[in-house]
């Protein structure tokens, strides 16, 4: 059975992969491209662990057919940091202990990145609603919200 070839840009690299028409982009990212930082928590778009940026927009990669990625630009959690240089969000998550088990963390970081791209100075409420699609069962969200707020402040300071 032949498979569909998809060409796209992932975390800055041009890549090709093969997929079935009904395969999810999540599975292709994990199995074909080895980007296992993208997590599967539900496969139905309810937990956000598989969040990616697709052409700059926040998406659940489990809800995208792999062939749809043709020609797109994708960012996963693996593409956030620049080498050893963490983003302010990543650094604030570490310093603020905004992760416990860490399974939701990749999706939360991607969603928070998307939020700050669109809204550099979000209120607590805006942060909470922006992350409502990212379930975390460990932290109770408190430290996540604080870390996002802190990162936003740092980014604003740097860019000011």
């Amino acid at each position: 059975m032949s498979r569909i070839q998809v060409s796209c840009t992932v975390n800055g690299d041009p890549v090709d992969f093969l997929c079935d028409a009904d395969g999810s982009l999540l599975n292709s990212l994990r199995d074909e491209l080895g980007l296992t930082g993208v997590k599967e928590g539900c496969g139905t778009g309810d937990c956000g662990a598989c969040s990616i940026l697709l052409d700059g927009e926040l998406n659940c990669s489990c809800l995208i057919f792999a062939p749809e990625a043709e020609g797109t630009t994708i960012t996963t959690v693996e593409g956030l940091a620049n080498g050893d240089h963490l983003t302010p969000l990543q650094q604030c998550f570490l310093e603020g202990a905004a992760l416990q088990c860490g399974i939701c963390t990749p999706g939360v970081l991607v969603a928070a990145t998307s939020l700050l791209n669109h809204n550099p100075n979000p209120t607590e409420t805006e942060i909470r609603y922006a992350l409502a699609g990212n379930l975390c069962r460990c932290t109770g969200y408190d430290k996540i919200v604080r870390a996002v707020r802190e990162a936003a402040a740092q980014i604003r300071e740097t860019s000011a």
Partner: protein, 344 residues
């Protein structure tokens, strides 16, 4: 009805709002026309790559192409796919081909003329709600569209998908109905037809679309002066839930603040969205005073024909439909008063 509709009929349950974004707009038998052309300057998946694959994926770039593809048996169109993928995972029978409508320019567009707004059926709701003019003119519809799923889902959900999934709980449908929205449907013979939004869903998971048809655009006439809408839903959490009850209200006021026109539509309280003429009648001629609101709320409750299920009870839905009708009417009235004729 085609295979897709048979599938859809199995959705006896109140399937959810964000699920709703993705159900096939239609399907049907016919002739396959393979191949797809570049969209937005990006190469789309070409025929050569697809040949030999059991399940085929097409990304047509024109409505005509899509119509041709849909002529093939057991073909499923999708916009956001946030429903189709979970269905496949859950083991529902797969179609033979998937047709992605998002590469068709006309389906991903928000336009405004002097007479109406034209919204591509597959336009991501995030893009629609980001349109400040649209959101100012139809705050209720914009809010309803914005309630479909998480931010992640908002990148994919669409009015067309939300409508054609035919969930009784779809958030945007009551809001479209109170704004008199119509859909432009591409027909199997290559033409188009227009029908009112309320005539599209015929029951949970069922639509009036014929085989080979799909929704191309949603049209909403420009809001008259001193007119505004509101949509409220009840969910147990604050996000990520399917509406237990959803209510859309639109009112038009005269210069004295008296209601001259009103539309009320209820979601998740019956197999399809319910218009409530008695509530509308109670509001028209009133100043949205307590007495009129009470009559409207009671009328809304009386119009409910809900079910008991895992998301709510008959008694709960019936009561809350009245509560939300009153609240949505008040909000719509305030908005209309604030507009004070400035909507055009």
């Amino acid at each position: 009805m085609g295979t897709l509709s048979r599938l859809a009929r199995r959705l006896a349950d109140l399937v959810g709002a964000h699920r709703a974004a993705l159900q096939p707009a239609v399907c049907g038998p016919g002739i396959a026309k393979l191949g797809a052309t570049p969209l937005d300057g990006l190469p789309s998946v070409g025929l050569a790559r697809l040949r030999g694959t059991h399940l085929k994926y097409f990304a047509p770039s024109t409505v005509e192409e899509a119509v041709g593809l849909l002529a093939q048996p057991n073909t499923k169109v999708f916009a956001g796919a946030t429903d189709v993928i979970p269905q496949i995972r859950a083991g529902r029978p797969e179609p033979d081909a998937l047709v992605d409508l998002k590469k068709i320019d006309r389906l991903i567009a928000v336009q405004c003329t002097d007479a109406k707004w034209i919204i591509g059926a597959a336009t991501p709701t995030a893009r629609l709600t980001a349109n400040a003019e649209f959101s100012a003119e139809f705050p209720g519809l914009a809010e309803a569209a914005g309630l479909i799923g998480s931010d992640q889902v908002q990148s994919r959900s669409s009015l067309g998908g939300n409508l054609c999934n035919a969930s009784p709980a779809a958030d945007s449908v009551p809001a479209m109905i109170v704004n008199g929205a119509r859909v432009v449907i591409a027909t199997a013979n290559g033409g188009t037809r227009s029908v009112a939004v309320q005539d599209v869903p015929t029951g949970p998971g069922r639509t009036s679309l014929a085989p080979g048809e799909f929704v191309v655009e949603i049209e909403v006439d420009r809001a008259p002066a001193r007119t505004a809408d509101a949509y409220l839903r009840m969910i147990p959490r604050t996000e990520m839930d399917i509406a237990v009850v959803g209510v859309g209200v639109r009112v038009t006021l005269d210069e004295s603040g008296k209601v001259t026109d009103a539309l009320v539509a209820l979601g998740a309280v019956a197999p399809t969205v319910v218009r409530v003429p008695a509530a509308e009648a109670a509001l028209i001629g009133s100043t949205l005073d307590d007495a009129a609101l009470a009559v409207a709320a009671a009328a809304a409750s009386a119009a409910c024909n809900p079910i008991d299920d895992k998301r709510g009870t008959i008694a709960y839905r019936t009561h809350v439909a009245g509560v939300l009708t009153r609240r949505a009417a008040v909000i719509a009235g305030q908005r209309a008063a604030e507009k004070n004729g400035a909507s055009r």
